[in-house]
Subunit: 428 residues, 2 copies
Amino acid sequence: MKQQVRIGLLGIGTVGQAVARALIERHDVLSRAAGTSLVLQRAAVRDLARPRSLAVERLTADPAAVASADDVDLVIELVGGEEPARTLIASALERARPVVTANKRVLAWHGPQLAELAARKGVELRYEAAVGGGIPLIAPLTDDLAANRVLELRAIINGTCNYVLTRMASGERLEDALAKAQQAGYAEADPRDDVEAVDAGDKLCILLRLAFGASCTPAQLHRQGIRGLDPRDLAYGRELGYVLKLLAVARRTEAGVEARVHPAFVPLEHPLARVDGAYNAVHVVGDLCGPVMFSGLGAGGDATASAVLADVVHVARRLALGDPVPPPRENGPEPRLLPMSEVRTRCYFRLSVDDEPGVFAQITRVLAEHRIGLASVIQREPGKHGAAEVVLLTYEAPEAALATAEEQLARLSSTRAVLARIRVEAPQ
Amino acid sequence: MKQQVRIGLLGIGTVGQAVARALIERHDVLSRAAGTSLVLQRAAVRDLARPRSLAVERLTADPAAVASADDVDLVIELVGGEEPARTLIASALERARPVVTANKRVLAWHGPQLAELAARKGVELRYEAAVGGGIPLIAPLTDDLAANRVLELRAIINGTCNYVLTRMASGERLEDALAKAQQAGYAEADPRDDVEAVDAGDKLCILLRLAFGASCTPAQLHRQGIRGLDPRDLAYGRELGYVLKLLAVARRTEAGVEARVHPAFVPLEHPLARVDGAYNAVHVVGDLCGPVMFSGLGAGGDATASAVLADVVHVARRLALGDPVPPPRENGPEPRLLPMSEVRTRCYFRLSVDDEPGVFAQITRVLAEHRIGLASVIQREPGKHGAAEVVLLTYEAPEAALATAEEQLARLSSTRAVLARIRVEAPQ
């Protein structure tokens, strides 16, 4: 029985500070859970000169030295971003040090290779904090749903976008909502990764592997962010009984597994519709368990530290007991990723059209040509420039048909512009 | 590496059949997850003569023989109820056989003793299915929140009551809603354990141990069921912004840990308010992770089998690898259970009173004497017999004061009856 487990911490930003503080302040709780004393042995910070309240023994500005230090039993990587984080994780694993990380970017792009390296070295690589912050997700998906074939997964996994969309639902413009998110600390100064769904795409990749055994990189996903969304569409959606969310969707179909991130209308009565503000939620349908949802704070120092420390306790417990790391689970056959053109969804269109006879006949003819059924229509009396606004809600159709229909609708003589096309999810 | 793990299944009711079917039909998925072949070796049924479609090798009517069979590596107990289930579990553990069970009754009353026996024998006793059916709960609470002090836990963990209360919210009487629940298969022919909150109390006991380290038996909980509830109260509650749920509540206060099951008004905007029908949900607030919620199907053969099989896979994997069972985690100091009289809640009262001057002054005097603040009042014009209905919503006060106030309100000369007193929860 190891008397102590010595931790090397890489990165002391918001999450790193929360982790360091917890390791010091709740040493007893954590050590009791781990069955061994957890010692914050070394930490690497960006700027040594900056004063900090943390009493870490050996602070350094050299993360590579911490990752490979002889007196470190476990490495926590909270540097973030692809490099040097990936190299740091790999070098710790190479030296047979288990690694706990919150780094979705590295895992999305290099997860399988790093997992393979960890397995080869007989150590663990854990990343509960990489998706959904403080919400228990990775272990529940891996272990608790092991008996299921996961049929569908839909997730709100970007708090920034959800905060922005929640404000837009009250009529605020995207730019204003984003500025508020930045003021409130929910969005970074450069929010592109969030707004363009890069972050959500990375996280979906990780979930896809766990829940569907599909190995893919973010480059293989269809990914569309929230830029260009108009509060008018959220208002029309509401009228039709839907709320707009940035959804990460993975779904098993006979033809393959869908994997996509995009804004989507969700029925008001679905639990995901009520996940507001900076909250995250993952809704999973298993073929045995049925629908299950996990929700909570998807970001923030303490919430993310909670997940990091759960992994640390798990690894430390194993180190203390000297238990070997079990071999990785065998996956089933690799599923085919469905190309976006084959994905079937319902769609919402908003068009600006001339207010003249025959317009509606033209529109419906285009839809009929592509065998797209029409479920609901809203048409308002024209505004000042003689343009009328038409909102269409279709039945399910393949993406290819919907995209072609969009182009053809835009080219109709009576169409001034296709102002929006937004997918509609009608989950279980 | 063990080539196979032989399973002995006790009890082939709804859940047992789903488990047996899955063990046979999804043998490959389960065996891949477990890293070893899972074989349903023996099963004990109540009535051997009854025809069944399951091809189990050796069926017997003697569960004790299965629990102690030499050719069984792992016992699944799905007999239910206290005895003989407890004895069967104990005898399997005594022979160093790991046990997976869904038996909340046995765990609530004998969990610590059985866990101690399992630890002494170096085998696992797992019970993910005992609370919340197919919702991953036990492992997330034990492992994923390990770094947290759990501050509050509120749960909807009886699907029957939630189904009944959901129907009552639309104006249906309790008796009618209960009959519907029975027709729909959500309530048993004898629904007393559900309606009287015995079932929810058992489950709360299990959650209390995991989340608060409080060892208690159901006898130590305050437990009140849904009998006597009137749809009028649900309607008034709605008017005040609340939904009525049967809640299991555990809360850390400076004076100790509260543990109680009773009907409670929950604010409409709280996620628990939207958990309808036969769904279950557990809402936990940790001091690091913040609020987290898990929801899904709390009952049903397949959903419960999903949880049972997750445990089976976990245990079989360990058996296959020959890994030792880690010693149980040390708990922190045992918290004090707060007596119900000291618990502070808000309260809803509905009174039938004479419609005459001074009535309201009498009522408010009683509340003021007990230092109970008044938050909202609804008074309707009197009905045919000259009786007026008064609804009061108080601020937080100790249960002892609220109970005494109730008695004194009932004795006022102008009071015809105190028709309802229902606690109000205002969670994070």
